[in-house]
Structure formats: structure tokens, C-alpha cells
């Protein structure tokens, strides 16, 4: 009882205990933040993997493989598989307005089927709701436009008679205001263009069916095959400070030529053929790698462009003599497992099924050449790297925490030295050695608990608002820690795992108590007579 009393009285003294609390707070906050972000990154990768890539994929090489339709039928007949879709994948060059070229990953696919094996349907950017949301936000921004005009005017007034350094600062502010006004106006204009383009139809339906909306008056859009483009492929789709997209130059409906390189069944490269497409929608997954590179086009169109469709075989000696037909080819098949079947189980089942299929169709390559892998295997290197990085960071910060244990040791050493006389008095009044030692252990435990609580709260806020914080850092100081190009995702992922936080919290309190063990032993050894001899 006296221990608790003294603990709380000692806590309220001076700055030394606060130093110890700050040390614990910082260590706990750092550990929780690191683990949450790395853990969030890991789970985002896992989620993105299964959602965006499908569970299992099979592919050969750029020349593709035949009998894919029969293979899909065979796979879809398996109880483990929910759905499968054939794809054709290649690299291509997208020529945009002004002859600017963008290298893209072209995927030919049936969108309806793709939506059954991946989260394609959810990633479609322009829907009735999103268009309405954009318009509503634009309306709100337009309502505040007068205020910006007023701000600009006030700033110009301030400019007169300001000192040189102040002029530079005000000039920067004027630029900011003007930038915002321009964003609002251009954004508005382009939303109107998009709205007119969709002409009252459901934008998402065009992405799901590869159709184009009916032409409106004065529409110059061409009657060409549709494509659905990653939101970040268009460099004019920029994110503002709040992370929202400002549409600067929408591509919808605009004819653009796409060039791909056909490769024959035997692996020979044929002359590239450009073909004109027009975007009918965009998609946004949050996986930067995909959003910034991928373009979806109709399967048949790409198959034809790449000369992978069914073709007549002619006699090499006499090209006029038809000796048979070469079956159509696909590049890959993506399969989704039924609920309750893991990607790994599905992979093994498909491998077994494929062995039989291959026996019946000997012109298909056997398994190592036909690679069958799960999304996890595909992301293995990345997942391992993230896992390693998380462990490394945890290890590094644990060392930092050891330093903070030493700090607590030093702080408690000082406290015990300063309190030697008090300890002697308590011993003289009958407190046992264990009793006085436990005052300091309880004291350290309370410091550890307060520090842990503060650290967890701080970490919680930082982790929750990490993207806002990051955006602010970038705006205010030009600091960019999270490079979307490096980390695949556009937002910093984070996930507070209660178990991990719990482990850190317990460890922090235990560490604080450990730090106080030596000083507590010192307290237990105080000789009461000696400490009472002097005033």
C-alpha cells in the first residue's frame, strides 16, 4: 500500500520520470508503426495478389498454346475450380495525342469472364456513382470558387508595399491559389466531357461488355474496338494533395493507335501492325504496377492482331494448297477456386488434370513448359522481401528498445541514489528489503504502462492518418517517403494488429521493469543506519 502511494508521489516529481515515460512512448510508438505498416503492406500484397491476379494462372511463352477452349472446359468441370478465363498478354505501344508513345501491357480478355476470376468488376473507375461523386465534389469546389477569387485579390493587395522576402512568399501563395482555381475549372470542364461521352448510359456496362456509348451530337469518336485503360496510364490523370484524381485530359472515345508485335507459333517475329482503339472506361486497383501499365482489349481483336487466331495451313512448297487448319492460341488461363479451396490445392488439382489433358493433346507442352502457379508463387520474392524487411525493422527497433531499457536503468539509478535517505527511513520504519525494491519495480511498471499507453495512442493516430500525414509532409517540406513506383501501391498500407500491439505492450512494460531491476536491488541493499546518519 505504501508502495503505491510512494510510486504515485514519486511520479509527480520533476522531469526525470517524464524522461523515462517519453523514452518508452517513443520506442512503443516506433515499433507499433513499423509493424503496422510492414504488416499492412504484407496483407495488402496478399489481398491484391488473390484479388487482382486470380488464384492460379497457367501460361507458356509469348507464342501461346492451343486447345485453350477445351482446356478451360476441362478445368471448369473440376469441382475445385469456380471459373476460368483465357487471356492474351503482350507488350504494346500506345500512341496518344501529339504522337506521344506509352509502353503498355496489353491484355486481351473477355471482361465478363475476367470479372468472375478477378476483382476486375470492382476496379472499374467510371461508374454512375463515381461520376456523380466527381460531379458533386466539383460542384462543391465551384461553390468555393468565389472565395478563391477573393483570396487571390486580397493577396495581390498585400503584395503592394510588402518587403522583398514577403513578396516572394505572397507570390508563392498566389500561385497556389491560381493552381487550385485552374484545377477546379479544368476538372469541371473535363467532367462535363466525360458525362457527355457516356450520354446517360451506365459507364461500367461499357467496361463489362466492351461496348461504346451511343454517339451524341458533334461526337468525333471513332467506330473502333474498345479498350479499358489503367487510370495511371494517362499521365494527365493526376492526384492532388488530398489523393483525389483531377481529370486533366480524358481519353474516353478518343482514337489511339496501339502497336503490338506478333510472334508465330515457331517463335518468329512478324512485322508489327498498329490498330486504332478508343478507351471506353478506366480501371483503378490501387496496385500501381497495374494501374500505370495495363490496358484491356477484346480477346478476339488482340488474338487476330497477334496472328494467334485459327489459320489455314498451306503446303510450304505450294502456298496455294491448303493442307489443314492451325488451331487458335491463347497466352494464359486464369482460374479462380471455389470458396473453401486454397490456391495451392487448386494448383495441384489443375496440374494433375493438365497431365491427363496433355496426354490426350500431345502438341501441348508438358508441365514445366506450361507453367502452372499460384499468385503466391508469383509474388513469392516480393512477399519474402517484405517479410524480411519487417523482421529486420522489428529487430533494429528492438535494439533501440534495449537502449531505452538502459536509459530506464540510468534514470532509476539516479532516482535510487537521490532517494537513498528515504529508502533508509522506510527500512528503519520496518519496510523489508523486498518492499523497498518493489517500490521501484512498481514505479518502473507504471512508467512502462503509461509510456506504452501513450505510445500506442500516438502510433494509432499516425498509422490511421499515415497517408494524410505523408501528403502533408510532401506539401510542407517536399518529403516523399513512400514512392509509389517502388512500393507498388499508391497509398501507404497500414494495419494495427491487436495481437502484435499486445505483445509489444507487454514487452515494453516487462522491459521497463527489467531496466529497474538493478536499481531496485541497489535500493534493497541500502543500509538504513548509514543513510540516516546525516541530515
Amino acid at each position: 500500500m505504501y508502495k503505491v502511494l510512494l510510486t504515485f508521489r514519486y511520479l509527480r516529481r520533476k522531469i526525470i520520470p517524464y524522461l523515462a515515460i517519453i523514452a518508452v512512448t517513443l520506442c512503443v510508438a516506433m515499433l507499433v508503426i513499423v509493424i503496422s505498416i510492414m504488416g499492412g503492406f504484407h496483407s495488402l500484397l496478399m489481398g491484391a495478389g488473390t484479388q487482382l491476379m486470380g488464384d492460379v494462372k497457367m501460361e507458356t511463352g509469348p507464342e501461346g498454346f492451343v486447345y485453350y477452349e477445351q482446356l478451360i472446359d476441362a478445368i471448369e468441370a473440376m469441382p475445385e475450380a469456380k471459373a476460368a478465363v483465357a487471356t492474351i498478354e503482350t507488350f504494346g505501344m500506345l500512341q496518344t495525342r501529339g504522337n506521344r508513345n506509352i509502353v503498355v501491357q496489353v491484355v486481351g480478355v473477355d471482361p465478363q469472364k475476367l470479372a468472375r476470376v478477378t476483382s476486375y468488376g470492382e476496379s472499374i473507375y467510371w461508374t454512375r456513382e463515381s461520376l456523380e461523386k466527381h460531379l458533386a465534389e466539383s460542384d462543391a469546389a465551384m461553390d468555393g470558387f468565389d472565395q478563391l477569387v477573393e483570396q487571390e485579390r486580397a493577396l495581390y493587395e498585400k503584395l503592394d508595399g510588402a518587403s522583398d522576402s514577403a513578396r516572394a512568399r505572397i507570390g508563392k501563395k498566389i500561385e497556389d491559389v491560381q493552381d487550385r482555381m485552374r484545377d477546379i475549372r479544368i476538372g469541371r470542364m473535363n467532367l462535363e466531357i466525360i458525362k457527355r461521352y457516356y450520354n446517360g448510359t451506365d459507364p461500367a456496362s461499357h467496361a463489362m461488355n466492351f461496348t461504346a456509348p451511343p454517339k451524341h451530337e458533334g461526337d468525333r469518336s471513332a467506330d473502333v474496338p474498345p479498350m479499358v485503360v489503367g487510370l495511371e496510364v494517362n499521365p494527365y490523370n493526376r492526384r492532388n494533395d488530398e489523393g483525389k484524381y483531377v481529370i486533366w485530359d480524358p481519353w474516353m472515345g478518343e482514337p489511339m493507335s496501339l502497336t503490338v508485335l506478333p510472334i508465330t507459333e515457331r517463335g518468329a517475329v512478324v512485322d508489327p501492325k498498329p490498330r486504332v482503339f478508343a478507351a471506353v472506361n478506366e480501371f483503378h486497383t490501387g496496385w500501381y504496377e497495374m494501374d500505370s501499365k495495363r490496358v484491356y482489349v477484346p480477346f478476339d481483336v488482340l488474338q487476330e492482331m497477334l496472328l494467334m487466331g485459327e489459320a489455314e495451313l498451306v503446303d510450304p512448297n505450294d502456298p496455294t494448297v491448303v493442307i489443314g487448319t492451325a488451331p487458335a492460341r491463347a497466352y494464359g488461363i486464369i482460374v479462380r477456386a471455389v470458396d473453401g479451396v486454397s490456391a495451392e490445392e487448386l494448383r495441384d488439382a489443375i496440374a494433375k488434370r493438365y497431365a491427363a489433358f496433355h496426354a490426350a493433346h500431345p502438341d501441348l507442352p508438358p508441365e514445366p513448359f506450361m507453367s502452372i502457379y499460384t499468385w503466391r508463387q508469383k509474388l513469392r520474392n516480393l512477399l519474402d522481401t517484405v517479410e524480411n524487411e519487417k523482421n529486420l525493422m522489428t529487430f533494429l527497433f528492438s535494439i533501440v528498445s534495449v537502449v531505452s531499457i538502459l536509459l530506464i536503468l540510468a534514470i532509476f539509478y539516479m532516482i535510487v541514489l537521490e532517494k537513498t535517505r528515504d529508502i533508509g527511513i522506510l527500512r528503519a520504519l520496518g519496510a523489508s528489503r523486498m518492499g523497498v525494491a518493489s517500490i521501484f519495480l512498481v514505479y518502473a511498471g507504471v512508467i512502462g504502462a503509461i509510456g506504452t499507453a501513450l505510445g500506442t495512442v500516438i502510433a494509432y493516430f499516425i498509422v490511421t492518418y499515415i497517408n494524410e500525414l505523408h501528403a502533408w509532409l510532401g506539401r510542407a517540406f517536399g518529403i516523399v517517403i513512400w514512392d509509389r513506383r517502388v512500393y507498388f501501391f499508391e497509398n501507404i498500407p497500414s494495419r494495427l494488429d491487436p495481437t502484435e500491439v499486445g505483445v509489444i505492450a507487454v514487452a515494453a512494460v516487462v522491459a521497463a521493469v527489467c531496466g529497474a531491476i538493478l536499481p531496485a536491488m541497489m535500493a534493497a541493499r541500502v543500509d538504513p543506519v548509514e543513510s540516516l546518519r546525516y541530515e
Partner: protein, 230 residues
């Protein structure tokens, strides 16, 4: 000593030796002290500064350890017969210390300083009420929330006395209770001791002032490491 005495022996010290090592030479502070303190007695121990009065008092109270010799408390050897932990408990339950320099805990207020002895050791009921009553008796009831540094020397000493009495000790040990006080204040403390003594409290008081020792029932002088009647 004779066994027909009406009062039972409370404390008996036999052939107590204590020496300290200071550098290369030994300082022999106590060289065979014999002493009996009777139940309800007020004993004063006189002696020059450095004669070993505090050392003897600490040994009687079970705070130090003698080189040789024994201290019996109600027929129990408090050194050979008690473990360190048991001796801690013994001090808490049976002995009240009033130190030479008050030695209050600076972070605690008057009430808490008084209760601290009661908070150490087994739980006591109505500790707070008891402390309040005790402080009232000592004239400190309007200072309960004050910290030691806000009190005068006499007030601090009274808090120290309250702290020593809260567990109703069999033996009150006071080391120069008036040493740091002016004459008038010192006298009020002595009056307090007289009052406690009248109530049957056994007191051993150390002083170097003969006029103060006169208030006690009996005085002994510590000289050359042994006690002699004054």
C-alpha cells in the same frame, strides 16, 4: 536486578560491542554496554557528541547489528532470534523511532507521513482516523495536507513523533528529540514525552543536554563505550 520487581523487564542489553572501521584504524564505539529498560520507564542516555549514543539506540531498536552481545526484547533475542525480515517486522510493530534529524519523507504530506508506518506491515483498520486523532492531539490537525518543507522544526518533530506512535509501539526511541529546536519548542516536545510517559509509554531518549535528561525517570551516561549511572 531482582526478580521481585513489580515491573517486568522490557528491554535488556548485555555486553554489547560495536566497532567501525575508519580507514586503517578501528573505532571501538561500544565496548560492553549493559542495560535494562523497564516497562513504562522513561530513560535518558547522556553522552558527548560522538560517544556512540545513536549507535546504541539503533542497536536497541533492531536497526543495526552488534559485533557481539545481545539485545533482548521481552525475553526474545532480536538479533540471534530473528531473521532480517522478521526484525523488519519487529521494528515496524514494536518500536517507534524519532530520529535526530526528523527524517520525514518530503513527497508525502503530514497525514501521509504519519500513516506510513501503519501502511508498512499488516493492514490496519481505521488508520486514517487514528492518524487524524494523533495529529489532533499533537496540535497539527490544521496542517494535514502540508508538506514537511512547509513546517517549522517543532512541527516536523511532532509529525515524526506521530509517525513513531501510530503503530502503538511498546518502545519509543528518541534520538536528540530536541536537538535541533529552540529551547521553548524543545520544552513543548518534552511536555509531550511527559504526557506519553504518564500514559505508560516506555521511552528511551538520547541527549547531550543534562537539563533535558532531568525530565526522565533515570539517566545514564555513555562514556568510553560503556554506560554508567549519571
Amino acid at each position: 536486578m531482582n526478580d521481585t520487581s513489580v515491573q517486568s523487564v522490557s528491554v535488556s542489553v548485555e555486553n554489547l560491542h560495536k566497532q567501525y572501521r575508519m580507514g586503517s584504524e578501528d573505532v571501538r564505539v561500544l565496548r560492553g554496554v549493559d542495560l535494562s529498560v523497564h516497562q513504562g520507564e522513561w530513560l535518558a542516555i547522556l553522552g558527548a557528541s560522538g560517544s556512540g549514543k545513536s549507535t546504541l539506540l539503533h542497536l536497541i531498536g533492531g536497526l543495526d547489528t552488534p559485533d557481539t552481545g545481545t539485545v533482548h526484547f521481552n525475553d526474545r533475542d532480536i538479533y540471534a532470534g530473528l531473521s532480517t525480515a522478521k526484525r523488519d517486522r519487529f521494528r515496524n510493530q514494536h518500536v517507534g523511532f524519532v530520529f535526530q534529524f526528523y527524517h520525514l519523507l518530503p513527497e508525502l504530506n503530514v497525514l501521509e507521513n504519519t500513516m506510513i508506518t501503519g501502511m508498512i506491515g499488516p493492514r490496519r483498520r481505521e488508520l486514517r482516523d487514528k492518524a487524524g486523532a494523533l495529529l489532533e492531539r499533537l496540535g497539527l490537525s490544521d496542517r494535514l495536507r502540508h508538506k514537511p518543507k512547509e513546517l517549522s522544526g517543532g512541527e516536523r518533530q511532532r509529525v515524526a513523533i506521530a509517525r513513531a506512535l501510530i503503530n502503538e509501539p511498546d518502545l519509543l526511541l528518541a534520538d536528540e528529540p530536541t536537538g535541533n529546536l529552540d529551547r521553548a519548542t524543545g520544552l513543548t516536545i518534552l511536555d509531550l514525552f511527559a504526557e506519553l510517559h504518564a500514559g505508560g509509554q516506555t521511552i528511551v531518549m538520547v541527549t547531550h543536554d543534562e537539563s533535558i535528561a532531568e525530565r526522565a525517570d533515570r539517566s545514564l551516561t555513555l562514556e568510553n563505550g560503556v554506560l554508567a549511572p549519571h
